[in-house]
Symmetry: C2
Subunit: 219 residues, 2 copies
Amino acid sequence: MRVSAEQRRRELAAAALRVVVRDGVAAATIRAIVAEAGMKLASFHYAYRSRDEVLREVVRLVVEGERETTAAALAEAAAPPASGRADEAGGPELLAALTRRTLGAYLASVHADPGREQGMLELTFTALRTPELEGVAAEQYAQYRGLVAEILAAGAELAGMRWTAPLEELARAIVAISDGLTVAALVDPDADLEPVLDLLVPALVARAEPALTAERIPG
Amino acid sequence: MRVSAEQRRRELAAAALRVVVRDGVAAATIRAIVAEAGMKLASFHYAYRSRDEVLREVVRLVVEGERETTAAALAEAAAPPASGRADEAGGPELLAALTRRTLGAYLASVHADPGREQGMLELTFTALRTPELEGVAAEQYAQYRGLVAEILAAGAELAGMRWTAPLEELARAIVAISDGLTVAALVDPDADLEPVLDLLVPALVARAEPALTAERIPG
DNA sequence: GTCTATAGCCGGATAGAC
DNA sequence: GTCTATCCGGCTATAGAC
């Protein structure tokens, strides 16, 4: 049965991602990828010109996935206003709780599937060393920061707060913190990282203040 | 001229490190390593049993280097008491300045030689995926945390302060922060990470209080 | 378009002369 | 101990039959 070239590309990229996650970038050879996809070796070059090209597509695929996950999470978080937003008093505490829960959920996902985040970092490093993948890593991280910025904005809105530092700065910090926590969780899966969260979350929330619904600042 | 087996091992490990830093772990083949060391291919297996074994030695070599660098830095920092330690007032500010300067110096070293830190992270990830290198990554990071703990203790001493959280917790947080900043600097070398430091350093220093030279707590 | 087959290269590791 | 020469396997990529 004949399938479209686009379909082929998608299947191969998905297979490549599975191999990267399970066995690492180094093991993601063209042979391993086509085997994972249940295809013949020669089929590969009908869909992609080179191994680098499919790796580039894998990064795009993952970022796309993160985008959808984020969008869904934001929609769900915004949905139930039943909890009632604390306008004045609960604001900072709520924002801290949201921040902590989000970072904690991310960390839990690393523990649940360590290969995934390790694979992504391996892809990033591969991209940094491969001229044919120039710009991929920078683009990947720019997207990450953009997604984090959206989450930050939504969180502040939900908590009735306002960030006092540029969103891009906060997003950069959070992406860095996430990467650091990721490495820590990969290297030492049994370590308790809760105290690290306790340390870092207040530093982030310190960059927010209660939002003013009406202008209160004297002219 | 005949050289001892130990000498051979050292030269090969040093050559391997140079290749890893310059070209990445994937490029650090036995052939590339012996070429870098100016040796013949067959000489390799007189010194090491396998490629994995020399990679293990490279990690040991780097950690050893960090240890010496740290020791030297601590000796120098402790040397000039001319600046006079601020016992009460300047304590927190001094500790913040020390923390910031140390993290800033680390970041500068990443910018000066990105391949080095990328290579080390690549080695860590390789170790995590290679059964023959089991435990190497965990050991490497345990050593890192130990060194950071020493620096933390020395910094507090110098500033007349006392950490209020377990040193191991703080060290774990700082290693994570360093890794996160490293990835950020590698992916986007032009980005300004000063605001991130501004955000994180206070969170660390918040875990310290002025040290009491004499017991003042009522009995 | 899809397969088999293979070119051509590079990798780790070792054999065997000296 | 030190070299040259090589084995053998896996890799990317392509040629050529169907």
